[in-house]
């Protein structure tokens, strides 16, 4: 690509990113402003008020608290955001948090739009789908409940990590990849699977490039990181009843998740899956970025199946 064409594509990508950010943010804010209520709910009472804000106000908040488990999760970034918002506002406002957390999906949509245009050229269809996926209210609770920004952080950090693994990483990129994987885990426990997805991608690079030694070492390090994060995840005995108790129940829960929504998901996404077949078959570098969100979804479904697989 000529330098001029590259500059033009970079400029198109910046415009796509900026507009994706603004449109997603506006759509989310409109929805949240209309329907959210300034009232704490469920885990907010203990995770935000009891464990964080009251100790902060009393002056006895310890830094370790930021990393301590909340159920299975270490919600470091949620806690930091809560403290920042409280410090700025001087009051605990779940409604304001619900509005502020809209920045996370807007940022994710913006990054995806940027990469989509920069890597593959101008594609209005991709832009529309990215904005629709992140801007429309598809998971209402995640929009309206201010204690759901963990999901926003998890998706954002995981996607950055996955992007870094999409092309053969240099050492600095690999270190950044490791950092974003840890950030994903410090958003929600499911982030422990992020390095596993990246390891899979590096494995594919290794097989395709024939330069297996360095890439496989990186992949192994990522598998080790994933294992370490998994081991750091606390067991919550009260949640035993929520887990799948047999392989059959596990398989049933897994199928249900993959068929979301309304049990028709697999059929709805079938044309897209067929479209991906040549991507799998070709050896073109970078194209298998397309495969990654699919892998991530599968792993997420596995994770959900393991932790919330009980039909009761």
């Amino acid at each position: 690509m000529s330098r001029q064409a590259e500059a033009s594509r970079g400029s198109d990508a910046a415009v796509a990113a900026a507009t994706a950010f603004l449109v997603t943010l506006a759509a989310r804010l409109l929805f949240v402003s209309r329907y959210s209520v300034d009232m704490p709910f469920l885990d907010q009472w203990d995770a935000e008020l009891d464990s964080l804000l009251l100790p902060y106000v009393r002056g006895d908040l310890e830094w370790q608290t930021l990393f301590s488990p909340h159920n299975e999760h270490r919600i470091f970034f949620t806690r930091v955001l809560t403290l920042i918002l409280y410090s700025v506002q001087g009051v605990w406002s779940p409604r304001t948090m619900a509005q502020v957390q809209t920045i996370l999906p807007a940022l994710t949509a913006s990054l995806l739009a940027y990469w989509s245009v920069r890597d593959r050229g101008s594609r209005a269809g991709s832009w529309v789908l990215i904005v629709a996926a992140f801007g429309l209210p598809l998971a209402v609770t995640n929009h309206l409940w201010s204690f759901q920004n963990q999901f926003g952080f998890l998706v954002l950090f995981s996607i950055v990590a996955i992007r870094l693994a999409a092309t053969e990483p240099s050492l600095p990129r690999f270190l950044a990849l490791m950092c974003f994987s840890v950030f994903a885990y410090l958003s929600m426990a499911g982030g422990a699977l992020t390095p596993l997805v990246c390891a899979g991608m590096l494995g594919v690079h290794a097989v395709r490039s024939g330069r297996s030694g360095r890439l496989l070492s990186m992949a192994l390090l990522l598998v080790g990181l994933s294992l370490l994060l998994y081991l750091l995840t606390p067991d919550v005995p009260q949640h035993d009843a929520l887990r799948a108790q047999s392989i059959t129940k596990s398989a049933a829960a897994f199928s249900l998740l993959l068929l979301w929504p309304f049990g028709v998901g697999a059929f709805v996404w079938l044309p897209g899956r067929l479209l991906r077949l040549p991507v799998v078959a070709t050896r073109s570098q970078g194209n298998h970025l397309v495969l990654v969100p699919v892998g991530a979804l599968r792993l997420d479904a596995c994770d959900e199946r393991c932790t919330r697989g009980s039909p009761e």
Partner: protein, 135 residues
């Protein structure tokens, strides 16, 4: 403030308008793409891509309609909780015998209403409760 039913109708219209607009946008965007990628599999991608987009948007439409219903239910539920929390705080301020435990229980520190009540008291004393609660 619109009546809930009116809000629902407004958003129904919004969805009605939005989805065809998306379909049209996606169609023209992909049509434009074919001019630069007319060969082989790339050409075959267009109808399949459009089919995928149409199916996805139909699905999004269904989920959307459900979403607005759920949002209205959520809002109503949270307003109810807010009202109960205000009542509990007012009863406490009046020094009456009854902090409405029944109401506070609904505030879902779910298994421990006593603790929720204690937290409400402490948070009010510390001045960090949401403005909506102490208004």
């Amino acid at each position: 403030m619109f009546h809930v039913y009116t809000q629902q109708k407004i958003f129904d219209r919004y969805v009605d308008l939005l989805l065809p607009a998306f379909v049209a946008l996606c169609y023209f965007a992909d049509k434009a793409d074919t001019r630069t990628k007319p060969e082989g599999w790339d050409r075959a991608q267009v109808p399949m891509g459009l089919l995928q987009i149409a199916l996805a948007l139909a699905l999004v439409g269904f989920v959307q309609l459900q979403s607005f219903d759920r949002a209205i239910v959520w809002q109503s539920r949270m307003r109810n909780q807010l009202s109960m929390a205000r009542n509990a705080l007012a009863a406490q301020a009046e020094g009456g015998p009854g902090l409405e435990r029944r109401g506070v229980g609904f505030l879902t520190f779910s298994t421990n209403p006593e603790k929720t009540l204690g937290l409400l008291k402490e948070a009010r004393a510390a001045g960090i409760l949401p403005a909506s609660l102490v208004r």
